[in-house]
């Protein structure tokens, strides 16, 4: 850790901002528990200063990956470097990281300010510096007036803010967050999510944010890494992940998709719902499944149409309407609410794609 920038009113923030960002590299990291393989030769690169979200279903190894970075899990194989330094076997207390847990991680016997100052206290920093830095960080997370409260006197959201301040107080090289919002209710969750992003942008600290909530991942991260069964499925910007998923798993996990049977022709075009569209990239000729986003589908009321509306779900500006095709395929479409009045369940509709499917996969794999 660099020498404290004493005297300035924003010592920790300045220290965090001024540090050269460190990247985190996991190479071939494997961790097994008995017969379960939690991490399966995972390769992951977190660029310096980046906000990376690690996304995946429950049990896919997200927490294990984060704990390996923090040092709580020693990989069975593979290496982890931080800013070029190999930390694979370095204990957590020597890794210079900050970590925010899912919940209940504040020390119950210390006030919010003492919690924040804990990392400084174990580093034997003076009392005045501890006080000043704790106050500064509580200010940063919007809790300047709650320093003397004990954890049980704070709401869940406030507790997580304090946990964030505590993690940042030691000016860590890397900030790790393990589903820090999942124990909070919806409104607080969105608010704190945006605040975490704001603070991260302000400080530029390399951040790994684990979540199983795709909306959360897409809205805060520079890039999102999708994990499946201990392996990296795809890592890309939120935008790219949504519009160009690399696998059917990613397409289904991120956003909503409808799987529609289609035929790929030898000339590189695909027959889909009565339309013909060009395809990019190599896909074997024959029966395929096209994955379509709801905004890529139009439903037109048509007495002779092959589809039939089954459900409609109003969500403000748009309404999600689901139609079923004669072969049982369900297709979801987002329709501007004011134009959806005719699309009530039972209505016969014509179903057509408006854009290239996000992904084509061989029929067996869908």
């Amino acid at each position: 850790m660099t020498a404290a920038v004493a005297g300035t009113p924003t010592a920790t923030v300045a220290e965090l901002r001024d540090r050269p960002p460190a990247d985190v590299v996991l190479s071939g990291v494997t961790r097994t528990y008995g017969s379960t393989t939690a991490l399966d030769a995972l390769d992951l690169h977190v660029a310096g200063g980046e906000f990376l979200a690690v996304l995946g279903p429950s049990g896919c190894g997200k927490t294990t990956a984060l704990r390996a970075i923090a040092g709580f899990e020693v990989p069975d194989a593979g290496t982890i470097t931080v800013g070029g330094r190999d930390v694979t076997t370095v204990p957590p207390s020597k890794r210079d990281m900050g970590m925010v847990f899912q919940a209940y991680s504040l020390f119950p016997n210390l006030t919010a300010a003492d919690n924040v100052a804990y990392g400084l206290a174990v580093r034997r920093r003076g009392r005045t510096e501890r006080r000043r830095r704790a106050a500064e960080l509580l200010e940063l997370v919007g809790l300047a007036d709650r320093g003397d409260r004990y954890p049980h006197q704070l709401s869940g959201g406030q507790q997580q803010r304090v946990a964030l301040a505590r993690a940042l107080a030691v000016a860590p090289q890397v900030l790790l967050l393990d589903e820090p919002l999942s124990a909070l209710d919806a409104q607080v969750r969105v608010q704190l999510r945006d605040e975490i992003r704001r603070i991260q942008l302000e400080l530029g600290t390399t951040t790994v944010f684990v979540t199983h909530d795709q909306a959360e991942a897409l809205s805060v991260a520079d890039r999102v890494a999708v994990l499946r069964a201990g392996r990296l499925e795809q890592v890309a910007s939120p935008d790219e992940l949504y519009s160009r998923p690399a696998t059917a798993f990613v397409a289904r996990f991120v956003g909503t998709t409808s799987a529609v049977p289609a035929q790929l022709r030898a000339d590189g075009q695909v027959d889909l719902l009565g339309t013909t569209r060009p395809v990019a990239g190599p896909v074997p000729v024959g029966d395929v499944v096209a994955l379509l986003r709801p905004e890529q589908v139009v439903l037109r009321p048509d007495a002779g149409g092959r589809g039939r509306v089954v459900t409609r779900t109003f969500s403000g500006g748009t309404t999600r309407v689901t139609a079923v095709l004669p072969d049982g395929t369900e297709v979801a479409a987002d329709v501007v609410s004011t134009e959806s009045t005719e699309l009530v369940p039972g209505t016969a509709v014509e179903v057509a794609p408006t854009a290239r499917p996000v992904l084509l996969v061989p029929a067996g794999d869908a």
């Binding site: 040092g71 957590p92 900050g98 847990f101 206290a121 174990v122 049980h152 030691v170």
Partner: protein, 277 residues
């Protein structure tokens, strides 16, 4: 409310009334000649000095030492038990055993020890065949302490395990990432969080050891100065007029001592758990 009346009635008559009567009648003495009851502090003053005073000291010393040892050993055993990975079976076994042994005080316990390391005990015989004599007699204060620990340690394990399980692994991990050592974690977080529960448990241990009578009676008769033994002697000696009053005074002294310990405990407890809800 009518339904709770029997409860308050019984507690009033069988628990509170006897204590109050004790507190009053300890100040009554019967004149040996006229059999007149008069107010007097003679019984009270007599129990604070001489043999009776030594009995209080003996009881206090024995219960403080065994409570302290029981606290340390029980805490160690509980922590060791919880630190075993995949130790579900071990945990169930030890907790059930603790439940049994914490209940295994009194008479049967004394006889088990007599059978083991008493004068004619199996272990004593085994050791003397090897030419070893036990360092301390079972029928001494040390022996008594050894026997008391047999139910105090399990009692500690039972009482403190929930508190140990309440220590969240995240606290330790948070301390670790923040750069804290194991010692720093225990000094700043683990210790202070456990303290109220440990205090409570050791007060319970103290009260159990202080009040123990059956084990001591079966083991040492009345050869060791302990208040409980003295009270029993005072009550059973029908010849001496006034010994009943002495017994009451001794008993009142016990209640007062336990009460004082509880007051100190309450104060410490409030200080130690300022941070909790």
């Amino acid at each position: 409310m009518l339904g709770t009346l029997p409860f308050f009635l019984l507690v009033g008559v069988v628990l509170l009334l006897p204590v109050v009567v004790l507190a009053v009648e300890a100040f009554r003495v019967t004149d040996p000649v006229t059999y007149e009851d008069t107010w007097s502090t003679s019984a009270i003053t007599s129990v604070t000095t001489g043999a009776y005073g030594r009995a209080y000291l003996g009881s206090l010393r024995l219960s403080l030492v065994t409570a302290a040892l029981g606290t340390v050993l029980g805490l160690g055993l509980a922590a060791a038990m919880l630190s075993v990975r995949r130790g579900r079976l071990l945990r169930r076994l030890l907790l059930t055993a603790s439940g049994v042994l914490a209940n295994f005080g009194g008479i049967p316990l004394a006889f088990a020890f007599i059978a083991a390391i008493g004068n004619a005990g199996v272990v004593t015989a085994l050791l003397s065949d090897l030419g070893i004599t036990l360092g301390a007699s079972l029928y001494s204060t040390t022996g008594l302490a050894l026997v008391y620990l047999y139910f105090l340690v399990p009692l500690m394990v039972l009482t403190i395990t929930p508190a140990l399980e309440g220590l969240r692994p995240q606290w330790r991990e948070a301390s670790d990432v923040l750069g804290g050592s194991g010692w720093q974690y225990w000094r700043r977080v683990g210790g202070p969080v456990l303290l109220p529960s440990v205090l409570g448990a050791s007060v319970l241990l103290f009260a159990s050891a202080f009040a123990a009578y059956a084990t001591a009676r079966a083991l040492v008769g009345s050869s060791i100065p302990l208040v409980t033994l003295q009270i029993a002697d005072a009550l059973s000696s029908n010849v001496l007029v006034g010994s009943e009053a002495q017994g009451k005074a001794l008993a009142l002294g016990m209640v007062v001592l336990v009460g004082a310990v509880m007051l100190v405990y309450g104060w410490l407890q409030r200080r130690a758990s300022r941070w909790s809800a």
